[in-house]
């Protein structure tokens, strides 16, 4: 059982590092080439979500990504430590309606004052909706340190 753990400060640039690591380890674990794009996207979404929440609530804490290559599965867990909110995964119809709304949908907890582009941000639940639309095996559970663990599994 091979394990890689990655912890990073809440910066967008590190989301790229996380995607890069996830794809490299997934490939080596035997995840199908055709599925690597899905791994990259899903891990990126989970990490972007965690980075946004950390910037808003606990910018000094590190986001954690764990990659485990078990017998027949490659499992990625992304853990944030932001206080849990009533984040809703929007329905697809609601996502489509964002384009018509005057604002960018339900507020995502405290806003990150430095990030002007958050104005255009889809609500954080959209990231989770993408993950759930993309990955067959996803679990979202409370994490001991506050926040949640997004656990995604792919066959190898």
């Amino acid at each position: 059982m091979a394990t890689v753990e990655l912890r990073f400060s809440a910066l967008p640039a590190h989301v790229r590092t996380a995607r890069l690591v996830a794809a490299a380890v997934a490939r080596r674990s035997g995840v199908d080439e055709a599925v690597l794009d899905e791994v990259r996207l899903a891990v990126g979404e989970a990490c972007s979500r965690a980075v946004h929440l950390h910037r808003a609530h606990c910018p000094d804490r590190l986001v954690m990504v764990t990659l485990v290559d078990d017998n027949n599965a490659f499992e990625v867990s992304v853990t944030d430590e932001a206080p849990r909110s009533d984040e809703q995964t929007p329905s697809f119809a609601e996502i489509a309606e964002l384009a018509d709304s005057g604002d960018s949908g339900p507020a995502a907890g405290a806003a990150d004052p430095d990030a002007a582009y958050l104005e255009d941000m889809v609500p954080p639940g959209v990231g989770l909706a993408v993950i759930q639309g993309l990955v067959d095996d996803v679990g979202i559970t409370p994490s001991p340190a506050g926040g949640v663990v997004v656990r995604m599994t792919w066959p190898t």
């Binding site: 967008p12 640039a13 989301v15 790229r16 995607r19 794009d37 990259r40 996207l41 990126g44 979404e45 972007s48 980075v51 946004h52 697809f92 119809a93 996502i95 489509a96 964002l98 384009a99 960018s104 990030a115 002007a116 582009y117 104005e119 255009d120 941000m121 889809v122 959209v126 990231g127 909706a129 993408v130 639309g133 993309l134």
Partner: protein, 113 residues
């Protein structure tokens, strides 16, 4: 791969050619580009995504934001994309119903409401 951006006019349309990765790290630059174009009076945009390697929901948010801005001026935002892996994320989020998606710049430029 970093984001690359270039713009050109085709008739009354402005074509924005995007390459590389549109993600949480680069999306702010795409947003800035779209905001600048609208501030500059360009309300009919064609975003050519054929050279995009990666798109995540942050990138979608910026495209949706661009659409809202041009609509405020009765404008349009059309996408050019034939790449299955990029189309997939529009499909998953239902945004194929929101954006007109074309298979070539020529088609997008000549399209009317």
């Amino acid at each position: 791969m970093d984001l690359s951006l270039s713009t050109r006019s085709e008739g009354d349309r402005t074509v924005v050619e995007v390459g590389g990765e549109i993600d949480v790290y680069t999306a702010p630059r795409l947003r800035e580009q779209l905001v600048d174009l609208v501030a500059d009076g360009k309300y009919h945009l064609v975003v050519d995504m054929e050279r995009v390697d990666f798109l995540d929901s942050t990138g979608l948010g910026v495209l949706v934001g661009g659409l809202k801005r041009v609509r405020a001026h009765d404008g349009s935002l059309r996408l050019v994309c034939t790449q299955e892996r990029i189309l997939k994320i529009f499909r998953i989020t239902g945004l194929t119903k929101v954006f007109p998606i074309h298979s070539s710049v020529a088609e997008a430029v000549s399209a009317t409401e």
